[in-house]
């Protein structure tokens, strides 16, 4: 109990020290007026999805950037929660809010299991195990076309806010803002510091009195939970669920977004999510080139800008100094 209190303790000048909160609040206020100033239906929808992916990417960053646990199977949370929510809605007609919460709780529990499995794994081994977990579940989908929708997925269940784009936009905006605030408090505070310590040197962290097992599990649970939120909302906005939600592609999405924007920050995944979502909009015109461009981009970024876009100003500064 006292440990939990310690986690949330913040010094008095905390909010002044961390600009991120101001940024989140500004973001919220700015986007509040979007439905009024943006008349283009599609652009509004894109921003809505960008916000959803902000939650997805940021939750991934908590585990990967702060905790150093890079899982390639976050689509398990995203798709798993989405599928559960969609199935509950379709088969039992439960109210949306119940479906969504159940989906998120499911993601949370899955996070616990996956975290437990991954406790003793490191680096590439962790990457491989996390990568294959959603694939195993996917096989389950393929063999039960009637119940779970098989290859084609399921459509036709209740949509968020009865399909009204504006209402959906505001719901997602509120959820995104709250999620960002919660994740920021965790990441910028003691919890984030503990995760970073574990990332830097797990044995050293243990020698510093940190219960590494507990915090690694907590990181998985929190990360899974928020990925689940974005997955369930995604499912209910699309009105359909399909195997792609649990594919490698959707598992790589947060990886791309976080490393493009800059890991171990809140603003990095945020930028990454927006950039990728908007980039995707333009690349939809070139279906095959799309993935090639993503691939080339991530390779380029990892090679030359390992700290992501947010570090670009520093890199440019360094380059200028080097040139002069």
């Amino acid at each position: 109990m006292t440990e939990t209190i310690r986690l949330l303790q913040v010094p008095l000048n905390y909010f002044r020290k961390e600009p991120i909160y101001l940024i989140i609040v500004l973001f919220f206020i700015l986007e509040l007026i979007f439905p009024f100033i943006i008349s283009n239906y599609w652009i509004l929808r894109i921003i809505l999805f960008a916000n959803l992916f902000v939650i997805y990417a940021t939750s991934f960053d908590l585990l990967a950037g702060y905790g150093g646990i890079i899982s390639f199977g976050h689509s398990l949370f995203f798709g798993g929660a989405g599928y559960l929510a969609g199935l509950l809605s379709l088969n039992f007609g439960l109210p949306l809010i119940v479906c969504i919460i159940t989906g998120c709780l499911f993601a949370l529990i899955v996070g616990l299991f996956l975290g437990y499995i991954c406790l003793r794994l490191k680096g590439p081994y962790l990457a491989v195990v996390t990568l294959i977990c959603p694939l195993v579940v996917l096989t389950l989908l393929y063999i039960s076309p009637t119940i779970l929708g098989g290859e084609n997925g399921i459509a036709g269940f209740a949509q968020l806010a009865g399909g009204s784009l504006v209402k959906q936009f505001y719901i997602v905006l509120i959820v995104t803002t709250i999620s960002l605030l919660i994740i920021s408090v965790l990441a910028k505070g003691n919890f984030g510091l503990i995760l970073k310590a574990i990332r830097e040197d797990e044995i050293g962290a243990e020698a510093a009195g940190i219960n590494t097992t507990k915090y690694k599990l907590m990181a998985f649970i929190v990360s899974g939970f928020f990925s689940g939120i974005s997955g369930t909302l995604y499912a209910h906005i699309m009105g359909s669920i399909g195997p792609t939600m649990m594919s490698l592609q959707y598992g790589m999405i947060p990886v791309f977004m976080v490393y493009l924007g800059g890991a171990s920050s809140i603003i990095g995944p945020f930028i990454g999510a927006y950039v990728v979502t908007f980039l995707d909009l333009y690349l939809l015109a070139f279906p095959y080139l799309r993935i090639i461009i993503y691939a080339a981009t991530i390779i380029f970024v990892l090679r030359f800008f390992p700290n992501g876009l947010i570090a670009v100003p520093n890199e440019i500064g360094r380059l200028k100094r080097w040139l002069s």
Binding site: P124, V129, L135, T139, Y259, A295, I299, R303
Partner: protein, 290 residues
């Protein structure tokens, strides 16, 4: 008996697939996920060649050029992408996945997502221990055996093979002795690509190849490598046989077996890494080196 024969033959094919990747992992200590692309490129190249040059092209020419295409791709990937960032395992992991996804899309773009079929080299079937098997499968088994034998001879009896083994165990020692490690890594990549390409060319007549199969191939290679034990390429053979036999057994005995087959590999990877990371014959402490 049916299971045994088919399982063994399948396992031999899997061994061929896995051993190249095990080589790269053992020597360069990286997970090169584009490896499955080396397998994929050869049959597509072969098909393209046959289509442009006509069906009377001598098969050995097509063979050599297709293998060459894989080798060229492997060299490019390793020289440009992997070797510069060799020490950063996760970056290599992500980058090679990215390349794989890109090539997959390229292939779908150019050749569609319908599976391709190469004409078999050995037609017809023979009766082995009372089971009828396609001759092509026997060819695969034979080729795998010879490849393994040649590899063994190369690695243990030649100077170059010795150089590779030294680099695998003690790269620093190799560097100090004046060896060119980069060349060794590239050479390993070439070997791996040749093995993969040969595997692709021989196996695609039996198992139609889709552009997105590279992921499945990786899973097979991984399952074999981890089961056998990372760092020990010869362990690929028994591991591959186990995988092959299990898959055939599952396909026959378990409902939906055809689809679940791939899960066998996944489950093996999962169980091994979680409960016995060194695999069956793995070298302990290998992970600490990397």
């Amino acid at each position: 008996m049916d299971i045994l024969v088919n399982g063994v033959l399948l396992g031999l094919g899997y061994c061929l697939i896995a051993i190249g990747m095990a080589l790269i992992l053992g020597v360069a200590k990286v997970f090169d996920l584009t490896y499955a692309i080396y397998y994929t490129i050869a049959p597509y190249a072969a098909l393209a060649l046959i289509r442009t040059l006509g069906p009377i092209t001598p098969f050995w020419l097509v063979f050599i050029i297709s293998v060459g295409a894989s080798v060229a791709f492997a060299l490019a990937t390793h020289a440009l992408l992997i070797i510069p960032i060799q020490k950063q395992h996760l970056v290599v992991f992500v980058s090679t996945i990215a390349v794989g996804m890109a090539v997959q899309e390229l292939l779908i773009f150019k050749a569609g997502s319908e599976p391709i079929h190469l004409p078999a080299i050995l037609k017809g079937s023979s009766n082995i221990f009372g089971v009828w098997v396609a001759n092509q499968k026997l060819l695969v088994g034979g080729v795998t055996a010879s490849v393994l034998a040649m590899l063994w001879v190369f690695l243990s009896k030649t100077r170059l093979g010795l150089a590779i083994r030294v680099t695998a165990e003690q790269p620093e020692a190799m560097k100090m002795a004046g060896g060119n490690i980069r060349m060794i890594f590239l050479l390993t990549a070439i070997l791996a690509a040749i093995v993969a390409a040969v595997g692709g060319l021989l196996l695609s007549p039996i198992y139609p190849l889709h552009p997105f199969d590279w992921l499945d191939l990786l899973i097979i290679a991984f399952a074999v490598m981890v089961l056998g034990g990372l760092g020990n390429i010869w362990a690929c053979l028994p591991a591959a046989l186990i995988l092959g036999i299990s898959e055939v057994a599952v396909a026959i005995y378990i409902p939906f077996g055809g689809i679940i087959k791939r899960t066998v590999g996944l489950i093996i990877i999962f169980l091994v890494l979680v409960f016995r990371p060194t695999g069956l014959f793995g070298i302990k402490g290998w992970e600490e080196e990397s």
